[in-house]
Subunit: 203 residues, 2 copies
């Protein structure tokens, strides 16, 4: 059976990438990662890709004269590799509306908070500062806004007295490693439909 | 032992009032409800109070020439009854900054969403419309903002495909009936301390 191909955009350590790779290797996730693209040449995520024999690419923003050209290169790699879906796994750049519209309903992001609470940067720090008692993570389709697209699934964690940004981030990350593969599995099995801004999950 | 006295402000059916009464009757909540105050004379909550032999009061906004006088009457009843804490249990009016400051850190509200998501009116409808997969309720101290005060505890519920505002509200309400007595129990046992905008819970 031909597995559906996805591309994964990263900027850092790639622990969510690793979670996806591990699920695929265990046979739990019927997908092929056709490309891992990093905007940083030294991202440990690229080493994880290489170790798993996945094609890795660096697309350095500074080597392109415009954001448009930078994203055109990313788009070309994804298209060339036959990707049907783009997964943002710790990719630290905002994609333009042009790119998002080109991949409408075909970009998935994971955010370390229970959206719509705490969008944007430093979500875990925002949660600790606000004083919520429950936080978590959200997997969602990307739209033109910041962390505002249709939600696929969410997982919760308690926020404990004494938590710092780092201890909360570690607790949420454990759930991210479950949530992102689970969402991708639903997508791979064609169980997701988007109605307006709501995602319905077929039983 | 003298139990700490609380006053409860209501506007409607009073199901959260009933949850508190039931916990007290079961011996699970070391508090005395010294006054139930409704801004509507026909609120079923007043019948629940009467049935439990709790002093009930109607304070009708239209009988007072200003919000200040209306709230002064509420304040007088609470003070007269010896209340140390004011609980908003479906009270459908915004309290003035004057009243909130008079009772600083001594007003507790329950809101049917995981704050800071979906503050204000129609929280359950907001959640269904947004398409979150998890919602819940939040018990918090009241500050001058709308549903923005320090959070005591939160409980979650899943949002299911096909949920309407009403089905979600019913699922959240079950958790409200647990969350509000649980928060009041922590308060009654002197286990809550407010640090900045965070509530710490003593073990």
């Amino acid at each position: 059976m031909n597995k559906r191909k996805i591309g994964i955009l990263v900027s850092g350590r790639g622990s969510n990438l690793q979670a996806i790779i591990d699920c695929i290797l265990k046979g739990d996730l019927p997908l092929e990662i056709a490309a891992v693209i990093s905007d940083k040449s030294d991202a440990p995520a690229l080493e994880r890709a290489a170790k798993a024999k996945i094609a890795g690419f660096t697309v350095n923003r500074r080597e392109y004269s415009s954001k448009e050209e930078f994203e055109a290169k990313i788009n070309a790699i994804l298209t060339e590799a036959g990707c049907e879906l783009v997964v943002l796994a710790g990719f630290m750049r905002i994609l333009s509306a042009t790119f998002v519209n080109r991949w409408q309903h075909k970009i998935i992001n994971i955010h370390p908070a229970l959206l719509p609470s705490f969008p944007g940067l430093d979500a875990q720090k925002q949660a600790v500062t606000y004083g919520v008692k429950i936080s978590g993570c959200t997997v969602h389709f990307v739209d033109e806004g910041t962390d505002s697209g249709p939600i696929i699934l969410q997982k919760t964690v308690p926020v404990l007295d004494g938590d710092t940004e780092d201890t909360l981030a570690a607790r949420i990350l454990e759930q991210e490693h479950k949530a992102l593969p689970a969402a991708l599995k639903l997508w791979a099995e064609n169980k997701l439909t988007i109605e307006g801004r709501c995602v319905k999950i077929l039983a």
